[in-house]
């Protein structure tokens, strides 16, 4: 039942992604990507990950806001057409080869619905599930992993997030007038 539902949602996502990439109007493309993100959130809800689903929903709204900020004023310039024909053909052929060889990797995976932790009793996840409540006192095992067992990991990843936002801020910063004047003086002297 859930397999069929998720397959249908994935087909919907593939169609929406294709529309987003092929639409000439940038605002429509951004709205289509919003549809993909919200369907991803529904999929997370169906496979037993409500924490991820709520996070994905919030992040999706912020993503649409940021992307609309990028496109809303520059919407008049539409660029249609791809790169030159020969290069495009070669690229699509290489993508098909990548797809066919990539499919071979999926043969070794466990069947859908049977996670690897059920075959290996001493996997890390089983330890977290068995001892997490006793050792950390957290009722949600997910919170126990993020903040206790792998807290240093979380700290490092949040540092990376901070660095990314800092970089965006540094790029978007408007240069102050005072500094500009000084630079002009320098160039005049030269």
């Amino acid at each position: 039942m859930i397999e069929a539902l998720i397959s249908m949602l994935l087909v919907f996502m593939i169609i929406a992604a294709t529309i987003a990439l092929e639409m000439t109007d940038l605002l429509s493309a951004v709205i289509s990507i919003g549809a993909v993100g919200i369907v991803v959130s529904i999929c997370f809800l169906l496979v037993g990950a409500p924490d991820i689903a709520s996070t994905q929903l919030v992040v999706e709204v912020l993503t649409i806001v940021i992307l609309i900020r990028a496109t809303i004023r520059h919407d008049l310039v539409t660029i249609d057409g791809d790169r030159e024909f020969f290069g495009l053909t070669v690229t699509i052929a290489l993508l098909l080869v990548f797809f066919i060889f990539g499919l071979k990797a999926f043969w070794n995976l466990p069947e859908f619905g049977v996670p690897a932790i059920s075959e290996f009793p001493d996997a890390a996840s089983n330890h977290y599930l068995l001892k997490g409540f006793e050792e950390t006192g957290s009722r949600n095992i997910l919170a126990a992993i993020i903040f206790d067992y792998r807290g240093v990991d979380t700290f490092a990843q949040l540092c990376a997030l901070f660095a990314g936002i800092w970089g965006a801020f540094a790029i978007m910063r408007v240069q102050s007038k005072k500094k500009k004047k000084k630079e002009d003086l320098y160039h005049d002297k030269k």
Partner: protein, 115 residues
């Protein structure tokens, strides 16, 4: 079957990154790849008739090990989604700066070393 559909979504995102001229379309392709990978990792940990890894009291722990979905990929993906937002803001700010410099989103026009 479901993994294959996820992989098709990934390849569509890769096509957008490699073949598109508009820089916003490249960002959208990157986002599609990110969604497909996150979804794939969560789907790997799903168990048939499984439930959310939340425990009520000590008596339910034994039941949890036999029935719960895998919590480890969820913990990884949760941070990965938030990191994706930071990366997106960085990419969008670079795109806006390039537009201010060149007056277009077309990457084939951005081949001059102006100023």
């Amino acid at each position: 079957m479901i993994y294959t559909l996820c992989f098709i979504l990934f390849v569509i995102g890769l096509y957008g990154v490699v073949c598109k001229k508009n820089i916003v379309k490249i960002i959208l392709g990157f986002l599609i790849m990110e969604y497909s990978i996150n979804l794939f990792l969560i789907l790997l940990g799903w168990r048939k008739q499984g439930f959310v890894p939340v425990v009520e009291n000590l008596a339910g722990v034994e039941n949890l090990v036999a029935q719960s979905v895998d919590p480890l990929p969820q913990a990884m993906v949760l941070i990965s989604i938030i990191l994706g937002l930071g990366i997106l803001s960085l990419m969008v700010s670079i795109a806006i700066r390039l537009y201010q410099r060149y007056g277009t989103f077309d990457i084939t026009e951005m081949n001059k070393l102006k100023n």
